[in-house]
Assembly symmetry: D2
Homo-oligomer: 372 residues x 4
């Protein structure tokens, strides 16, 4: 292994595993990196499935025990793409072994677990990052830049929504994302976490308190694999969460995360209103950022210009990027932080802070909770 | 006066007075009505200004005492376009005199006043209506029709915003709408009232409880007419209100009313998500209704077809209407209800219900309040 | 009649008659005018229908002979809202009688007629205007202002379309607009005329040559009133016209007028590209103008600000206007020109120029024709 | 080399080379393919640049003579990413050697060259494809499917534009794409070719005749590398082309290709109007297809559902794709055709047909030309 190469081991090979793999495979072709990742090993519970995933996605080997990944000397980075209930154990072990860790969001299923992970990260020689990939949409990164430059003035409002509809059908089965033991929470932790992070990232402000409501619209669903028996199980997570709050600096914030917004597929949206201007983003049109500088309209900026964040590495103006690029950008930033010896962003500490907001929303039931 | 003519007296001649006048002047040319309004008298505090308004807007006479309007035998309808602090007194007097009353929103500045008005309406031979004009946007009326027909299925979410930006400038003066004694509340009562009513109108459900926050971003402003002395006074109303709640039938609701959404001019928006479909409306594109029936997209319906509400009375498809038409439609419905001897909608009782939601939001400060 | 009042007589009471009436009735309430129009007389072939129209639309009298309108001393303005085959005769007679004339578009059914009308206008003491109402959309007027100020730089491209779909159904009857003897031409003269005028108006350049094609997709249609006999007649006008050309100053232009664009209701669109910027307008969203000043996007300007053309006379920002307002603005400008003793714009000479372009397109059949 | 592996050699490593490389590197990870491509060799004129490109983009070797690529036994596919002036020579040699060939568009710089290439393709055992990648946008493929299923009925109109603005600045240098000897033509061949192909692909109809105009707005530009001497050279290609025509089956078509549409970055647009419905696409929002089925609006379909063309291989609904995916899809289809022993689409014969339309436009100068 050359000094400039770092071995990567990935735990998990489902949706997140596929998209992370594509990012590891692609990042060096488009960015000049101080470290070249080498896709060493993928880990999954089924030998056969992990082997097929390795071949297809370009990993050199497949194993079934995540501990075996952490023990390898040729693995410098551990990429955790499993459900939330295993994040803490794997990440803490990897950090203890001095590995750099990138972990899918939400960081953990509870504040307690997240706090242990953040503590482990603080003590480890390894660097750690929580994979809030939407920060790396060029339009979202441009939004943050505009706010940081003061183009919007004092921030008054944040209005963020994450709208999906994939469980609207009451016959959709009781998958792991609908079980509290695996997923921690429902729409709140899965997608609500993204808009909390995005709101804080874009504005540079923190959520300091919230009041809100959650709801489970469909309370029982067919058990997976139950087939025609029609056996049902209880949905133990929220289907939707709506909450409002205050941000540091005095802005009001409004959030909504739901899997019941029929016709909305992956609408992560954020609008920020400042004293001088506003901006608006919707992931369903991910190459666009709408910006007002105080006049009678919003400008639809196609975020594909050479001087836009990340965009210059790819194609000419007007040739848009897709979902997977956000992960490629994330890994680029992670590798650069490792090489520079700096903390990647968002760190596990950032992930812990989001977890605290999630907990406050879960416990709110209509009462205002300050975020510790 | 023919049996089919009804005299109208209007109190107030500012913004609302102008748009109501245009509606009274126009309604008979486009709708076949059982009653023909006759624009008898306009009332304003300044003799000169009221006279000029009468000439310009087509009223036969101008007076300065609203009691003189109510006393006239040739006036059957009293149209109240004054600030909220005078609504109760005028409306109760007019109803006591047996007049039909249409009153601008919010119905009153307090729940107590609104309750007295609703009681007066219940006892009077006159009919009464509160002027939530946005119900009469063809697209909003079509939205209600779609929900009522069951096209959206069980309602899960209501997401309503009313975004303006006309007081973003801290040097904007302390007009009456920023004073609690005149206006009752700020963005909440002025525009928040509209989205509460619109949400209830479109879904046919009631807001049953809310929790939320209000904020005054700019706490002092130049006194009107103070000129270069630069004297400032205290803003005594909210600049913005954010709140979430529950609707009857189990839907979650999210509301936001603000005058600080830079770049948004008159964005009254509502999205409703149901088990089978969704709809979306934004008044800044008032001739459009976006509807999803569960597939991979929303249809932008241009609400100008002959079978769309109100639209058939006007122009061919694709020839849009404007803001003032909502008032023409409102008056058409009011006249039809009077002629039919039925209660117009929204009635003063509806206005009282909205007032109770406004009060709950004002008192919430982050705590859940059930609506009585 | 006060010196400042001018009597109006209108010929025709169908679609155009209704919208012109609404404009005459409304204009004085919203604009400070040097002349106040008085709606004296309406003329239609049926006594009964004309009488009903007069009562409904607010005209003092109804007559059945247009010559009687022209002969009246109390009529200073003649408003021609009839099909194109009668424009020349009526307008020339009215101008000969010294009346001011506003005439619906296209000015005439042939270049020859239009030339006679323009000559009559040049010799008359009366002022004349051809009713290209889309010039008076605030967004279109703002577009012209931006070009005139040089904000777009040298003009390179004009791309104009007028898309409707009201005759897509082959069973739609053979109405007068589909007959050459009444209408002169089809989509070309009816709506193609508008985009030619709009392109010239916005850019301040003239169409100097064209090459193009026309087509009649449905060649026979049921005769009106034939009922179940199913008798059909021949469509003698074009259903669609597509043409490209050159503008003075060197820009390329592309035009398309059709009644067969299924799903497009009244989509008059124009895009102009200049060396420094671009603009785009679509009448189906008539309160919006999209402007690029050379960067990575277009700004959606809501054309409802006090300093936008015509908009300040109406409502606050964000409260849009509708189709009929374009006529109110047109009449306002007409009255101001009459009072000022200047030529209204567009004049009959402008209408003649558009007619020459229409003729060139009709005769082109794929061959380039210079406009005389 | 396993039977299921095919070696690939690529000629050229600039813009097209980078995006083709990403496609070759990615295609097997997302599609189950009958043939696995192996990236054997890349060819460029500079040894150093070709070597760097090979390392970065994942090619096993780099060479400087394209003939060396064709002679290799381990190369089964030749991918031609050079300027148009070398397409014919390379492709004909590769086909003569029995290689499969994928060639960038336009197929050639002249009809004569394209005809020779199509003849060579017809005689070769190798399969050939011209790289009109926009056919492989999922939304464009869905558009074709809808037309083919008859959902739009008889086709009446095609309206296609390709709008860019990258040479608006008169100081932009005289790059090879602005020189006739290298590029054949300007906007016409570079991007006009795409909309001709897209129009034919989506509708299943052929362009049978055209009349139009071309223009070079900026006639001299700085020579590349001339630096401060400011030496200028003549632009020998068109900057823009506008043309209208007829399609087989009777539809009218309107086309526009320009590099002077300020603010438009890569707006390949097509609208098709049929007797029953319409569709609209703009590459600047490449994950959307707008479809009307005859009612009062268009549905914005997010083309990311599992049953949409190509989309099921990637991410869940609402997670959009980018520009490069069109090439990955193209190569997937190419490999499948090779394995199946069928002619890929679009073939060199298709490319020749587009070339004939381009020639007709170039020669038209306002006169109608039938396509042979």
């Amino acid at each position: 292994m050359s000094e400039r190469t770092v071995g990567v081991g990935m735990i998990g090979y489902a949706f997140m595993g596929r998209v992370h793999s594509q990012a590891w495979r692609t990042v060096s072709a488009f960015f000049d990196l101080p470290l070249t990742p080498s896709m060493r090993v993928i880990c999954g519970r089924s030998k056969e499935a992990a082997g097929a995933a390795a071949e297809r996605m370009g990993w050199a080997e497949a194993v079934t025990d995540w501990r075996a990944v952490i023990e390898r000397d040729d693995v410098g980075i551990v990429d955790i793409c499993t459900p939330g209930d295993s994040h803490a154990e794997i990440a803490i072990a990897a950090l203890a072994a001095g590995k750099h860790v990138i972990c899918e969001k939400p960081l953990a299923n509870t504040v307690q677990e997240a706090a242990l992970m953040a503590a482990a990260a603080a003590e480890s020689a390894g660097r750690s990052m929580v994979a809030f990939n939407y920060r790396r949409v060029p339009a979202v990164a441009l939004a943050r830049r505009l706010v940081a430059e003061g183009r919007l003035g004092e921030i008054r409002h944040v209005r963020a929504q994450y709208l999906q509809d994939w469980v609207v059908d009451p016959d959709f089965p009781l998958v792991w994302r609908l079980r509290k033991d695996k997923a921690g929470s429902g729409a709140l932790g899965d997608i609500g976490a993204h808009i909390i992070d995005t709101a804080e990232f874009v504005t540079g402000r923190r959520v300091v308190g919230v009041t809100g409501l959650t709801e489970t619209f469909v309370k029982e669903r067919p058990i997976e694999g139950a087939g025609r028996t029609g056996e049902k199980g209880t949905v133990t997570v929220d289907d939707a969460a709506v909450f409002v709050g205050r941000m540091s600096g005095g802005a009001l914030a409004s959030f909504e995360a739901t899997r019941f917004a029929t016709g909305r597929k992956n609408a992560l949206r954020i609008e920020v209103n400042g004293a001088l201007g506003s901006l608006y983003f919707d992931f369903e049109a991910m190459n666009e950022l709408w910006v007002s500088e105080g006049g009678a309209g919003f400008t639809r900026i196609l975020v594909t210009e050479p001087d836009h964040p990340y965009a210059g590495a790819w194609w000419p103006p007007g040739h848009g990027l897709g979902y997977e690029h956000t992960f490629t950008h994330e890994i680029k930033d992670f590798l650069e932080a490792i090489a520079a010896g700096t903390d990647p962003s968002p760190s596990f500490a950032d992930g812990l802070r989001v977890q605290r907001v999630l907990e406050a929303v879960e416990q709110s039931n209509g009462t205002y909770k300050e975020i510790p």
